[in-house]
């Protein structure tokens, strides 16, 4: 097979290393010091094959590395443990050359065998990884998933520094998948020694290693002195204190005891903080790959009628809903958030027009309105948002009954197709990786419509599905034609209005006065809340 470097590989393997690989942007950065971060909930696990929470996602990012990584503060891919890679012409064979001399925290050198072991482990059903599905395009995945094989036939160790991964179909998102935490490289001996408790005693190649963990109280990471990227991390250590209410965390930040409240600024305190110039100056605002939406179940009347779905879209006053959350969002008109490649600039969507909405209802023969239910997660501010939606729909004669339930119950009702409408808040789609396909497959594609699937609209259009598949068969994820196709996919979805896209939440990270580093590191789209490897303290 004739191999050539495709354009993205060129851009990533050669162009980027100059700009991104040597990312030591802040001349003022000083090494040393420790910081304190708080969270309300426990850190469940630091096993990269399993961790999928708000809290542990960025911790795992700092303890482990995968073959691919992102330029800090951006959505741009860069090589991680891989030094370079080649992609075959048809986009199905990826050959990664590993960096020399990278060691795990236990001192052993990382090799291609470890990469293979890690991919076999994450896809093995015994591991029960919530991320296993991301690797479905690797050849041999189906056999491993069904238990017929215990090793991916598509992952071959060529030599200790080279690994070749063959896909069963072209997958434009594959490099992003290799940048997910689930693709982190772990040492077999440490995993086997710890068994099911590997998540409590993680060993990786990352910038930090676990120093201490008192369950329910605190977790301490310390600098990996032998980290393979030169010059980072700057911090000597990070202490995560858990079990801290966001309000308490904010008070402690104001007293100088905390550097970053991991759960953000509590909604009730937001205005107070932003009205105080001193505190507001330490809040970093940024976009995030998030969309809040209402699903309309197209399999149940009256939402099986397009006119009704359009009417609901036109009836929602998005600006007022944004006021409910103190203006911490921008109105949305399509599934993709504005910072996502493939976002359609200039797309109007449905404007707020209650009169037009009434006309649409009349057109559908429902001029007198109807009664329906809206499912919503029961934590603030979601029930208040549901009430705003309820009022908007009452104005066009639709009577909405609010079902405010625990997260798991809403997900269950959505998966079973029992919920006519669901407000996605609290369970919403924050992208796993910065690629437009991530907002389609499970939540708008036909594959997610099965019982228990995440496509709560039960929306399935074969022709749109086909276009999505075609877009993902490109080899270059950033190819303009590919992004145009994705833009078209979402415009066609909106033409059928299975969702009401309501807003794209902004991120607000608050930090203590002594925290230094580029603002972008505090709203890093990949390492949430903060890119720990690159921030520093000034005192």
């Amino acid at each position: 097979m004739k191999k050539l470097l495709c354009s993205s590989a060129l851009a990533l393997a050669f162009a980027l290393p100059a700009a991104a690989q040597d990312y030591t942007p802040d001349p003022n950065a000083t090494p040393g010091g420790t910081i304190t971060i708080t969270y309300k909930d426990d850190v469940a696990t630091l096993d990269p094959a399993i961790g999928y929470d708000w809290q542990n996602w960025s911790m795992i990012k700092s303890i482990f590395d995968g073959l691919m990584d992102y330029v800090p503060g951006t959505t741009e891919l860069r090589p991680g443990l891989a030094e370079s890679y080649e992609v075959s012409e048809d986009g199905t064979v990826f050959t990664f050359t590993l960096r020399q001399g990278v060691t795990f925290h236990n001192g052993r050198e990382m090799t291609a065998e470890d990469v293979k072991y890690s991919l076999d482990r994450v896809t093995n059903p015994e591991t029960q990884s919530p991320g296993a599905g991301f690797f479905a395009s690797i050849a041999g995945f189906a056999e491993v998933e069904s238990g017929a094989a215990d090793s991916l036939s598509g992952v071959e160790v060529v030599d200790p520094q080279t690994i070749r991964i063959t896909l069963s179909r072209p997958d434009a998102t594959f490099l992003h998948v290799m940048g997910l935490n689930f693709a982190s490289v772990v040492p077999r001996e440490a995993v086997e020694e710890a068994g099911a408790d590997f998540g409590k005693s993680p060993v990786g190649t990352g910038a930090f290693k676990l120093a201490d963990w008192v369950i329910g109280q605190r977790l301490v990471l310390e600098k990996n002195e032998d980290y393979w990227r030169d010059g980072v991390p700057y911090l000597d250590g990070i202490t995560f204190e858990v079990g801290q209410e966001p309000v308490v965390a904010l008070l402690r930040l104001q007293q100088g005891e905390v550097d970053v409240p991991g759960d953000g600024i509590p909604p009730a305190k937001f205005q107070e903080v932003m009205d105080d110039p001193d505190q507001a100056a330490r809040v970093v605002e940024g976009g995030q790959l998030h969309t809040g939406y209402i699903t309309l179940n197209v399999s149940t009347p009256p939402f099986d009628q397009l006119a009704v779905r359009e009417a609901v879209n036109m009836a929602i006053n998005k600006d007022r809903i944004i006021q409910v959350i103190n203006g911490r969002a921008v109105p949305a008109n399509q599934p993709l958030p504005p910072s996502m490649p493939g976002y359609t600039e200039g797309f109007d969507g449905f404007a707020y027009d209650p009169e037009g909405a009434k006309a649409k209802l009349a057109e559908a023969g429902l001029g007198d309105g109807f009664t329906t239910q809206l499912y919503v997660m029961n934590t603030d501010p979601n029930p208040r948002i549901a009430q705003a939606i309820q009022q908007d729909l009452r104005a066009i004669g639709v009577d909405v009954e609010i079902r405010s339930l625990a997260q798991a119950n809403v997900i269950e009702a959505g998966g079973a197709g029992e919920a006519p409408m669901i407000w996605s808040g609290g369970m919403a789609w924050i992208a796993d990786f910065p690629d437009p396909s991530n907002f389609y497959g499970p939540i708008l594609g036909c594959a997610g419509t099965g019982d228990g699937g995440w496509n709560w609209s039960k929306f399935c259009d074969e022709s749109i599905d086909a276009m999505a598949t075609e877009a993902d068969s490109f080899t270059d994820p950033a190819a303009p034609e590919r992004l145009e196709m994705w833009s078209e996919v979402y415009q066609q979805v909106m033409a059928q209005a299975p969702w009401v896209p309501v807003f794209n939440e902004q991120r607000y990270t608050m930090k203590s006065p002594r925290m230094g580093g580029d603002d972008a590191l505090y709203v890093d789209p990949v390492s949430i809340p903060v890119n720990y490897d690159y921030v520093y303290v000034t005192e």
Partner: protein, 306 residues
Amino acid sequence: MAGYLFRRVLQAALILLGVSFITFVLLYVLPADPVRQIAGRSATQQTVENIRQQLGLDQPLLVQYGRYLAGLVQGDLGRSYLQRTEVSTLIASRLPASLLLMAGGILCELVIGLTLGVIAALYRGRPLDQGLMVTSFVAVSAPQFVVGLLLLYVFAVQLGWFPIGGYGTAAHLVLPAVTLGIMGSGWYSRMMRSSMIEVLRQDYIRTARAKGLTRGRILFRHALPNAILPIIAMIGIDIGIFMGGIVVVESVFGWPGIGQLAWQAIQRVDIPVIMGVTMVSAGFIVLGNLLADIVTPFIDPRIKMR
């Protein structure tokens, strides 16, 4: 005595069995699928089925319950679905904090409640008594999360006397213990007041007074020990009430106890953890009541064990 103890222990075991069954059934019928929480949103149907099978969640209810019970009698509470850690490890690492908090809470409610109750009884019918009783009413009615945040704001943030939440030193314990104890202190002050008034009316108090004993001696030697008796049995019952209270108080103060663990597990349908915390809590409640029943006759010989 031995027969009585045996019967009570048997009773306790049956209660625990009942609690485990009811909780298990409730979690089973809950309209939320733990496998979905484990498998994540990108999972294929095959993955979901694999996990369901591995966890034995594809089995009928009674088989699942039987398996749980078989583990339980061997002291195996299973592994957390989400943390993948032994439930017994999670509970063991958090239980000391909860027990400490409860001990602090009981101490607070007794000290505050009994003191106020005695004072109110001595000043019966006067403004001080009326004021104290209104206060106790407020204490009983105030929601714990409000009391907790209020105390936190005033004594930790404004005055800086105590740390703002957390765990570790005696200073960390004060505010959560007071928050937990304040509701009970309202009850105790009212009970202590009426119990004390009752005792002060007794003939032997009049005799003591007639003998010319000092007010203090009458109060501490004769009245208090008798008035306090009915209160003792209440402490055992308090443990049950506190098991509910710690969920709230631990959340407000960031106290690393089992209440916090239970709260997080409930939100994520982590059934083994919910079961584990429920069983351990139920065990303490049953034990508390048992101890109260056993101790009372020693303090008051008028009560006999049968």
